[in-house]
């Protein structure tokens, strides 16, 4: 079982390396992290926080958008591409279970994501520490950001595999993946924000808003990191309502989401008839 998962992971890693996915993911993360740490460093003196903690707050906002995008881009082709190339029937005649195929792909894609995260966050941390010796106290926040970003990435990789299985064509899967990203990462927040503003501190804000934030993996990720580093004050608007949600709620959400997403992917892949 382990050997078959590793075999798939090695092959996927070869493919990702050749298709420049490793390079693209690393360059994206490094460039955006450096830009954000440069921009975010200006007001640090006034806030009284160390430089790295401020950078981490900026990187959290970056990860919410970028990590799901990179994960979906890496995963949308995973099943639909095999169907379209005609490589799936042969693969399924091998003594390998479908979940093992997905697990192998997940292992490879998650590893690439971790490499990109470490490169990007590492570069930002290096700059922060070089400029401010007190920044070392922000390492706990950086470590938290790294592992939660990995969980967020795994969630969207799983969603990507599921979408890929449902679409069965790479072009359709790409469209669906972009739709999922827009919906979960951009429109969902806009919708919530509009509702909160319209509600003006009423029932919606108090009763429905917190669970709605926890139900979305990207929001739960942001909530967890901001709550944990007590940086919620810096994020205007959402902060007030978010402050009332205990830390463990968002922790449970970001821990369960990868499992839900991979369960969805496995079920969807099982329905694919070669």
């Amino acid at each position: 079982m382990i050997a078959r998962i590793l075999a798939t992971a090695i092959t996927e890693a070869h493919i990702a390396r050749r298709n420049r996915w490793v390079l693209i993911a690393v360059v994206l993360m490094v460039v955006f992290s450096l830009v954000l740490s440069a921009v975010g460093s200006a007001p640090s003196g006034g806030l009284g926080a160390d430089r790295l903690s401020v950078t981490v707050a900026s990187l959290t906002s970056l990860s919410v958008y970028l990590v799901p995008l990179v994960a979906l881009l890496m995963s949308f082709d995973a099943v639909a591409g095999e169907v379209e190339r005609g490589t799936l029937p042969l693969l399924l005649t091998y003594p390998v279970a479908r979940w093992e195929v997905l697990a192998g792909k997940l292992l490879a894609h998650t590893s690439i994501l971790i490499i990109a995260l470490v490169a990007g966050f590492g570069a930002a941390a290096l700059i922060a520490v070089l400029n401010d010796p007190a920044a070392a106290s922000g390492f706990a926040a950086l470590w938290r950001l790294t592992w939660t970003s990995t969980l967020l990435g795994a969630t969207f990789l799983g969603i990507g595999y599921g979408v890929s299985s449902l679409a069965r064509r790479a072009s359709g899967a790409a469209g669906l993946a972009i739709g999922v990203w827009l919906g979960l990462v951009v429109l969902y927040d806009l919708g919530l924000l509009a509702a909160v503003v319209a509600d003006d501190g009423g029932t919606f804000t108090k009763v429905f808003f917190p669970p709605a934030l926890l139900a979305n993996p990207a929001d739960a990720f942001r909530l967890f990191n901001l709550t944990a580093s007590q940086a919620t004050a810096g994020t205007a608007g959402v902060g007030a309502a978010a402050g009332s949600i205990p830390l463990w709620h968002s922790l449970v959400s970001i821990s369960l989401w990868p499992l839900f997403a991979l369960g969805f992917a496995t079920l969807a892949f099982r329905k694919v008839e070669p």
Binding site: A3, R4, L6, A7, T8, I10, T11, H14, I15, R18, N19, R85, G86, T87, P89, L90, L92, T93, Y94, P95, V96, A97, E273, P274
Partner: protein, 298 residues
């Protein structure tokens, strides 16, 4: 001899259309069986049922004593799909190593395997740069991994040149001698070059003929053609002696049944001093195949 693959009364429909109707067959260990049929006769569907990729509607299929698609069956069955395709970013070597790992074999044997199918020189090039014949060889190499008990090969010789085709059948002979059961499909009898033990002809989803080439030849009972060249000026005499003959250009053509062949030849022999030459032409492989595949399906 034990049967590696047994199918009885298999039926499969796609949206109400019968793809396979009451198909029964068996392939024993060490036996090479060719499955013939036109495009759409049901060959690939039958193979996919055997591999467990699609489920049958009714009938029994036993693959190495297990149900098709079962983990035990998959461990013992190798498949070569029609127009084998692989990820174009991988090299031939990486692709074969991957398949060896999936079968629990040591991937260090991948180069030897590629060498066996004549692909060692291109092993480290991307599959995207390969010709169709080379991709087919990668497909063949992966089908040889780990001594399979049953090989299911869907049009394995398509895209291969005559020399490679010959090498391919040599490989099959070796595998069969080691006890592997082989089921290969083709849409032409000439393609299998009569290098199989038994032929199955599928037409319109039904099994219309089964047997060795001599058996099928006898069963088809197609007429034998004779082309007689007369010595100058004697053709009218020969036409008079053989009322069935007709003049085609400068030659005289005659057909007779298999049973009448010797008697007809004896009569021609009596005209020895008037006949310059005679060619006896048995029914071709294509003729025999067309006879069976048209009888039922069309």
């Amino acid at each position: 001899m034990t049967s590696t693959l047994t199918i009885s009364h298999l039926t499969k429909t796609f949206g109400g259309v019968l793809a396979l109707t009451d198909v029964s067959l068996h392939v024993a260990a060490g036996e090479r069986v060719a499955l013939l049929g036109h495009n759409g006769a049901g060959k690939s569907t039958l193979m996919k049922v055997i591999l467990g990729l699609i489920a049958s509607d009714s009938g029994e299929v036993s693959v190495c004593g297990a149900a098709p698609g079962d983990a035990n069956a998959r461990a013992k069955v190798a498949y070569l799909p029609e127009n084998a395709t692989f990820h174009s970013a991988l090299t031939g070597l990486e692709q074969v190593r991957f398949y060896m790992r999936l079968r629990g074999e040591n991937p260090s044997g991948a180069m030897a395997l590629l060498d066996r199918v004549g692909l060692s020189a291109a092993a480290k090039r991307r599959i995207g740069t390969y010709s169709k014949g080379m991709r087919q060889r990668v497909g063949l190499a992966q089908a040889l991994i780990g001594h399979p008990s049953l090989l299911v090969l869907d049009e394995p010789t398509s895209g291969l040149d005559p020399v490679s085709r010959h090498d391919f059948y040599e490989l099959l002979d070796g595998l069969a001698a080691d006890g592997a059961a082989i089921l290969l499909s083709s849409h032409a009898l000439t393609e299998v070059e009569a290098r199989t033990d038994r032929l199955l002809i599928l037409s319109g989803g039904r099994m219309v003929a089964e047997g060795s080439l001599p058996q099928l030849r006898r069963e088809a009972a197609l007429p034998v053609a004779m082309h007689i060249t007369a010595i100058n000026g004697y053709d009218t005499d020969i036409l008079a002696a053989l009322p069935n003959a007709i003049r085609v250009g400068s030659a005289l053509h005659l057909t007779c049944t298999q049973d009448n062949k010797l008697a007809t030849l004896a009569r021609v022999a009596t005209l020895q001093d008037k006949v310059a030459d005679i060619d006896v032409i048995p029914p071709s492989l294509e003729d025999i195949y067309s006879h069976f595949s048209r009888r039922d399906g069309q």
